[in-house]
């Protein structure tokens, strides 16, 4: 019974609050275009302080990121959002990979189906040399 109660408590427990390091590698410093964890720019310092404040206020990771987007625009995210125009950033590589696979598949199919060159009669001198070589090999 105790085990069951403990299990339910774990399942119902609120998710662990995010940490600064959970967020700073997913957010870009807008003046230097690198993630916050790699930047010492003044605005990066302020953004880190802001993230700490929001964590202390109980915001989730997604809420903090949404508040940063509200203030700096979508360019503040290190990874583009999976909607709207930014979806292209996700779809293009996938589309490229599918296209490349299709081209490779088509080429492989073509090569596998290509007619083999039919062996014609050998030229007399080549046939004679071949016979000599074989005879020497057998002998």
């Amino acid at each position: 019974m105790t085990l069951l109660v403990a299990l339910v408590a774990v399942l119902l427990a609120a998710p662990a609050p995010p940490t600064l390091s959970d967020i700073e590698d997913e957010v870009v410093c807008p003046t230097c275009q690198v993630t916050l964890d790699q930047s010492n720019a003044p605005i990066a310092e302020r953004m880190r302080a802001y993230i700490r404040e929001r964590i202390a206020a109980g915001d989730s990771k997604e809420e903090i990121k949404a508040k940063l987007v509200e203030q700096f625009g979508p360019r503040v995210l290190a990874v583009p959002e999976r909607r709207g125009f930014d979806l292209i950033a996700w779809l293009l590589p996938i589309g490229g990979a599918v296209l490349a696979a299709a081209v490779l598949g088509a080429l492989a199919w073509r090569w596998s189906r290509a007619p083999r060159g039919e062996a014609g009669p050998l030229a007399p001198d080549v046939e004679r040399r071949l016979d000599e070589e074989l005879a020497r090999f057998d002998g």
Binding site: P42, I43, M47, Y50, Q71, G73, A106, R110
Partner: protein, 189 residues
């Protein structure tokens, strides 16, 4: 025959991709209004000031350049974390107070900033002129601004005049002269 068709198809696809990329490049160049402004000002030209509408930071609502038609405008890009922005703020505030009755508007454009920091900065330096927030860097791109602080002057006919000041307007004598000259040209006095 299939192979030949495949080859032609692949070539058409490659040419199509190159054409699409070129079209994208041309579109970007055509729509990148601001890229030529700093160089045009450096050549002494007076290009039309790019239009904009941005949310205000000092109060609710938005502000457009069109709302300021007929007035001289000093456009000053700033951010709260920028030390030179703090140094020049009193000079801009003094210009606004001195010339507002003549039709001068100093317009602050906050960029790359946390809203709460920007509001605290405005209170700290006693900024009373209108301020907009350029969240997406739209105005920065249109004017070809390269950082903060940076200042442009717009005359009553909506043309950019004088010199672009890339740095605090009171950072050195040259900038102080450019600032006074920019004010004079913008006001048409």
């Amino acid at each position: 025959m299939t192979g030949a068709r495949l080859k032609v198809g692949a070539q058409a696809l490659a040419v199509g991709l190159v054409v699409a990329l070129l079209a994208l490049l041309v579109w970007k160049l055509v729509h990148d209004e601001g890229s030529g402004i700093p160089s045009a000002l450096a050549r002494g030209e007076q290009p039309p000031a790019p239009a904009f509408t941005l949310p205000r930071l000092d109060r609710e609502g938005t502000l457009s350049l069109a709302d300021l038609r007929g007035q001289a405008v000093v456009i000053n890009f700033w951010a709260s974390w920028c030390a030179p922005c703090k140094e020049e703020a009193p000079v801009l505030e003094a210009a606004w107070r001195e010339h507002r009755d003549e039709g001068l508007v100093v317009l602050g454009v906050d960029f790359n900033d946390l809203r709460s920091d920007a509001l605290a900065f405005m209170r700290e330096v006693g900024m009373t002129y209108p301020v907009v927030y350029d969240r997406d860097g739209e105005l920065v791109a249109k004017y070809g601004a390269t950082g903060v602080p940076e200042t442009f002057f717009v005359d009553r006919r909506g043309r950019l005049v004088g010199k672009r000041i890339a740095g605090a307007v009171n950072a050195r004598d040259e900038f102080r002269r450019d600032f006074e000259e920019g004010l004079r040209l913008a006001l048409g006095s």
